[in-house]
């Protein structure tokens, strides 16, 4: 009971200071991010978005040069990294990778980023905290389906990073590395260009959205929505003339 006021204060702080970005209505991920103010100044690893981009499109963040995924077909992804023997097994596993890929920053769109604002010491587990207190927008459908717990994907030592099966850690921006561990066929088509979404243009640097830009990592399935209005055509079945 003695901890309760402190806990309440922590939750209240989180709610008032950090959760202002949590929309009550929960529009889909791809719409949620548009008007976000990117968090800056706290984590120097996340550069501020490029203000020269056109409005409505979040700035892209060049992948950290350290994070390189040595690619399939001897090509190299800007986003990719493979620490040991990069070329060897990978080129077979991921098919032919064509162009360097740049990712849009995931962290800049997270409402409660940086995590260290609450997770002092960046530990995953906070004493006497339930996930529903501060992360009540999370519906852990995917963890329940797969039997995963928080630390399956989030690093227990540094909550701002993701953890891979190999023990490696990945940045929040590099969600594809985490997801590709199981969803390797999707990762291959994503790398090739058949899955996911390219931003900016068909020409020039290939900027793509990463897995968690579209899929809520905790509830990955697309939820039904109301479509844009239907065309006013005479013949509702089949083609109209």
């Amino acid at each position: 009971m003695t901890r309760f006021p402190a806990r309440l204060a922590a939750v209240g702080l989180a709610a008032t200071c950090l959760c202002s970005g949590c929309e009550a209505l929960h529009p889909p991920r791809w719409e949620r991010r548009e008007n976000r103010t990117p968090v800056s100044g706290v984590d120097s690893a996340v550069p501020p978005p490029d203000s020269t981009r056109e409005p409505g499109v979040l700035g892209t963040v060049e992948a950290d040069p350290v994070d390189r995924w040595k690619g399939p077909g001897g090509r190299q992804f800007e986003v990719a990294r493979r620490s040991a023997a990069p070329e060897a097994g990978h080129s077979r596993r991921f098919g032919s990778i064509t162009l360097p890929i740049a990712l849009r920053s995931r962290a800049a769109g997270l409402s409660q980023y940086p995590c260290s604002s609450c997770h002092l010491g960046r530990k995953l587990v906070m004493a006497n905290q339930r996930i529903t207190d501060a992360h009540n927008d999370i519906q852990p459908v995917h963890p329940e389906q797969t039997g995963a717990v928080c630390s399956t994907c989030h690093s227990a030592e540094d909550v701002q990073l993701l953890t891979l099966k190999s023990g490696e850690r990945a940045r929040m921006d590099d969600s594809y590395r985490l997801c590709a561990q199981c969803h390797f066929t999707q990762a291959e088509t994503w790398a090739g260009g058949a899955h996911g979404k390219r931003l900016d243009g068909w020409q020039g640097r290939r900027v793509v959205m990463a897995c968690t830009d579209c899929h809520d990592p905790h509830t990955p399935a697309v939820t039904p929505r109301i479509p844009f209005r239907a065309p006013q055509i005479q013949r509702s079945r089949g083609h109209d003339r």
């Binding site: 719409e31 064509t98 058949a194 900016d200 959205m209 039904p224």
Partner: protein, 324 residues
């Protein structure tokens, strides 16, 4: 002679009429002189006729537009002139400051499109973006894109529903979008009696809206119902007009002309994605250069099982469907 009206259909069918633009322009210039003089005479004699400088200017611009040549055979100077006139007319008539490009095709580029029928969820965000981007007629509710809701396992346009209005994706259904497929061998171009529609070097079939006579042969010829006819002057509120325009793309159309999807020629020729591909929230739309072996569209064609609609017609659409 191709100037002989009785010889026109035969000549025009193979486009030879259009190879004599000088003759036509010469004749039209003479007509213009007479018409301009007549208009001035009439306007001088009509007490109710508007006489402000702006109205006079618009009247002259409109006449000059009326007798201009086919865009395809204009010189650069003539294109600049007509674009100047059109921009001025848009300003006066629609209250919109627009910029009309005449950007040509990039060398070494042929556009291709791929549509993932597994990914499309029928949200119609592409339709919304297309309407806004291409200044489509709000009054007639023109839409270039149709999204068909089909039952799993069957591609049947007779049974498909394009006017669904319920939460999507619906259980047991998939969604297939159509638009102009920019065929490599387009039947619509073949039938145009006046050469108002043609295929550009980057594979986009375009229309000179001012050369189109509105006969709608192209609409009959298109096996994909891709073309739309303007039964009335399109209405777009001034504040909603997209000012980034192309002569062959989304500039103001007029009553009695045919229009269609141009893969957003004003965007794609500058390296950007078509509005539909950019708006798609599911990433079902893949767009790129077919001649670039490193492009995403080529990856899709090389690694996915793709199909096109009505392939037996040999129209060679540059629009492929694929699934995960």
């Amino acid at each position: 002679m191709s100037e002989d009206p009785t010889g026109m259909p035969a000549d025009a069918a193979d486009g030879s009429l259009l190879h004599k633009p000088v003759d036509r322009r010469g004749a039209l210039s003479i007509v213009l002189g007479g018409v301009a003089a007549g208009v001035q005479a009439v306007s001088a004699c009509t007490p109710l006729s508007p006489a402000t400088e702006e109205e006079k200017e618009v009247r002259i611009l409109a006449w000059q537009e009326y007798i201009k040549g086919n865009y395809r055979f204009m010189t650069e100077a003539e294109r600049a002139e007509t674009i100047g006139r059109l921009e001025r007319l848009a300003q006066v008539r629609h209250g919109a400051d627009v910029t009309i490009q005449s950007t040509g095709a990039q060398p070494g580029v042929v556009f291709g499109y791929a549509f993932n029928i597994s990914k499309c969820k029928g949200f119609r965000r592409c339709v919304e973006a297309c309407i806004n981007e291409n200044n489509l007629d709000r009054n007639a509710d023109t839409q270039y894109i149709r999204i068909f809701e089909m039952e799993d396992g069957v591609i049947d346009f007779d049974e498909a529903d394009a006017t669904y209005q319920h939460d999507v994706p619906a259980e047991g259904h998939f969604y297939l979008g159509t638009q102009c497929f920019q065929c490599a061998d387009p039947p619509c171009v073949k039938v145009c009696p006046v050469g108002a529609t043609w295929q550009e070097p980057d594979g986009i079939t375009v229309i000179d809206y001012d050369w189109c006579i509105g006969c709608r042969y192209c609409m009959a010829a298109c096996p994909y119902w891709a073309r739309r006819f303007n039964w009335a002057d399109p209405e777009v509120p001034a504040e909603e007009v997209n000012p980034n325009q192309h002569y062959l793309g989304n500039r103001a159309r007029k009553q009695g002309c045919v229009e269609k999807c141009t893969f957003c020629v004003h965007r794609t020729r500058q390296g950007r994605l078509p509005a539909c591909a950019e708006a798609c929230p599911t990433g079902a739309r893949v767009f790129g250069n077919l001649l670039d072996p490193d492009s995403e569209i080529r990856w899709v064609l090389a690694h996915k099982r793709v199909f096109r609609l009505k392939e037996d017609l040999k129209t060679e659409p540059r629009f492929w469907y694929f699934s995960d």
